[in-house]
């Protein structure tokens, strides 16, 4: 019996190996002018890979 379903997510620990290119959007430059957040941002290098 499976008690746990694991959802596929980006492994944040692994992202330490190749991350940090700095091309991604600044935190508060879009719709969000009063609440900084990064959860809804995209990884620019991933976009370029597509």
């Amino acid at each position: 019996m499976t008690h746990i379903k694991t959802i596929e997510t980006k492994n944040l620990c692994d992202s330490a190996k190749n991350g940090g290119c700095g091309e991604c959007q600044t935190s508060c430059q879009s719709a969000c002018k009063t609440s900084c957040g990064i959860a809804n941002q995209q990884c620019e290098s991933k976009k370029a890979d597509k």
């Binding site: 019996m1 499976t2 008690h3 746990i4 379903k5 694991t6 959802i7 596929e8 997510t9 980006k10 492994n11 944040l12 620990c13 992202s15 330490a16 190749n18 991350g19 940090g20 700095g22 091309e23 991604c24 959007q25 600044t26 935190s27 508060c28 430059q29 879009s30 719709a31 969000c32 002018k33 009063t34 609440s35 900084c36 957040g37 990064i38 959860a39 809804n40 941002q41 995209q42 990884c43 620019e44 991933k46």
Partner: protein, 459 residues
């Protein structure tokens, strides 16, 4: 660190450092809650006792479940330690001196007189002014000169109301397009407007040149017109809605956001979201007002409770619409579990004052639009660059691990430490936290994760 909560019929467990997300049954939920506090023996015995009356949960089920939790821990998907602190300043250190985004205050004046405006009706507590072409052109040159190897450069035309200076906006975009190729850059423009001056020319131009347009609408007519009035006190709803509808229809799928603010007058903001949907808008954002204590627009403790419920109901509505094949987007619920920013970005804090700055109509630089007018934080100007190194260093040193409250918060890798301006206005320090904002943010993230799970599981 883990965060576990129940929402939308799911038992959800987030392993914060690894970003792993699990949907678990009730036994696993209980075991995970005790796993780091109690011995294996104690946990197994407590579970067997708790579920003794349940025929569907046998003692061997409990043991099997414990083994699955152990297995996930061994795979680095549960109870992962946070070893990121030493990396916290790396991204800003690596990109020190690089600027990649500017908020151009193209007009410090406005044709609306909204009392809740953080920018004091566009004047930013100063004189009315518009940016000249020469100042704007120099700002774009400054951005290119200081952008290092960054290719994508973001420029937001902001105000006040930028369309009061639309000819300069058009000329600046023309100039930027004429130099970006040779400079190896790609400008991404955004326009934030109240809509009063939108016409066919603005629509054609925006849809051709703007990567994103942010359109201010608070939802229900009576809510919108309560604050968003002209200088004669007349509401703007009837004027702007047809213009927004025309612009969005002509936009042909390019990014836009209907952005509203909710206040003490409408903590039940889901009603405003529904009005936006009825008007045909699908890309929505609504944010809580950030008001000074005592301001009549400020959200009270009772309002916050309503807002929390509204966030859950909003998630339910989104799921319902998604299943019906009529989805809509809520900006703060967008989350890409398989993609999203890397850990460096997540811990390095807001880019204000370092990679992102605001430019006043006369060319002064501030850490972001919310600091404009605060002399203490004037960083320099577009001619001499950043001269207030002390203020800039304060922003550069700001990251998730600089805030003691963030160290213990499960949402730290989703907010990156929050908004420096909100922290400053709430506590007097950019390394403080805006508690009310944190509570709302955490609720939004819980809803966003639940929605992502529901979509992933196809339920």
């Amino acid at each position: 660190m883990i965060h576990q909560y129940k929402l939308g019929g799911y038992n959800i467990v987030l392993d914060v450092p690894s970003g792993s997300l699990h949907v678990v049954d009730e036994v696993a939920y209980d075991i995970i809650g005790l796993f780091e506090k109690e011995s294996k023996e104690n946990i197994l015995s407590a579970m067997k006792e708790k579920y003794a009356d349940r025929e569907d949960i046998t003692p061997s089920d409990v043991e099997e479940c414990y083994a699955q939790v152990e297995s996930l821990r061994d795979m680095g998907k549960l109870f992962v330690p946070d070893n990121f602190e030493s990396m916290a300043g790396k991204l800003k250190e690596k990109t020190s001196g690089v600027v990649k985004a500017l908020c151009l205050h193209i007009a410090h004046t406005c044709n609306l007189n909204c009392s809740y405006c953080f920018a004091s009706q566009g004047k930013y507590h100063g004189e009315r002014a518009v940016m000249s072409y020469e100042v704007g052109k120099r700002a774009l040159d400054f951005l290119i000169e200081n952008s290092g190897t960054r290719r994508n450069l973001e420029v937001d035309f902001f105000g006040g109301e930028p369309l009061l200076n639309f000819e300069v906006v058009k000329e600046l975009v023309k100039y930027a397009r004429s130099i970006e190729g040779a400079a190896g850059k790609n400008f991404r423009f955004t326009l934030t407007t109240n809509g009063m001056l939108i016409d066919d020319d603005v629509i054609d131009f925006s849809n051709r040149e703007m990567s994103n347009v942010v359109l201010s609408l608070d939802g229900r007519k009576e809510i919108h017109d309560r604050f968003r009035v002209d200088y004669a006190g007349r509401g703007s709803f009837d004027t702007i809605v047809p213009k927004f509808q025309k612009l969005v229809e002509a936009r042909g799928g390019k990014n836009y956001y209907m952005r509203g603010t909710f206040t003490h007058a409408n903590p039940d903001f889901l009603e405003d979201i529904k009005v936006m949907l009825d008007l045909g808008f699908k890309e929505l954002s609504m944010e809580p007002v950030v008001a000074a204590p005592g301001d009549p627009a400020e959200l009270t403790e009772a309002d916050i409770k309503v807002v929390m419920e509204q966030y859950e109901k909003l998630a339910e509505l989104m799921l319902k619409k998604h299943k019906e094949g009529d989805p809509f987007t809520f900006y703060h619920y967008m989350i890409d579990l398989k993609g999203g920013p890397c850990i460096y970005k997540r811990i390095s804090g807001c880019g204000s004052g370092t990679e992102y700055m605001a430019v006043t109509p006369w060319g002064d630089l501030y850490p972001c639009h919310q600091f404009v007018g605060d002399e203490k934080y004037k960083l320099g100007n577009i001619y001499d660059g950043v001269t207030n190194k002390e203020a800039q260093a304060e922003f550069a040193s700001c990251n998730v691990y600089k805030k003691k409250e963030c160290r213990d918060c499960w949402a730290r890798l989703y907010c990156s430490g929050g908004c420096a301006a909100n922290a400053y206005h709430a506590t007097g320090s950019i390394t403080g936290i805006y508690e009310k904002g944190c509570e709302l943010f955490k609720k939004r993230m819980e809803c966003a994760l639940m929605l992502a799970i529901a979509k992933e599981l196809g339920e």
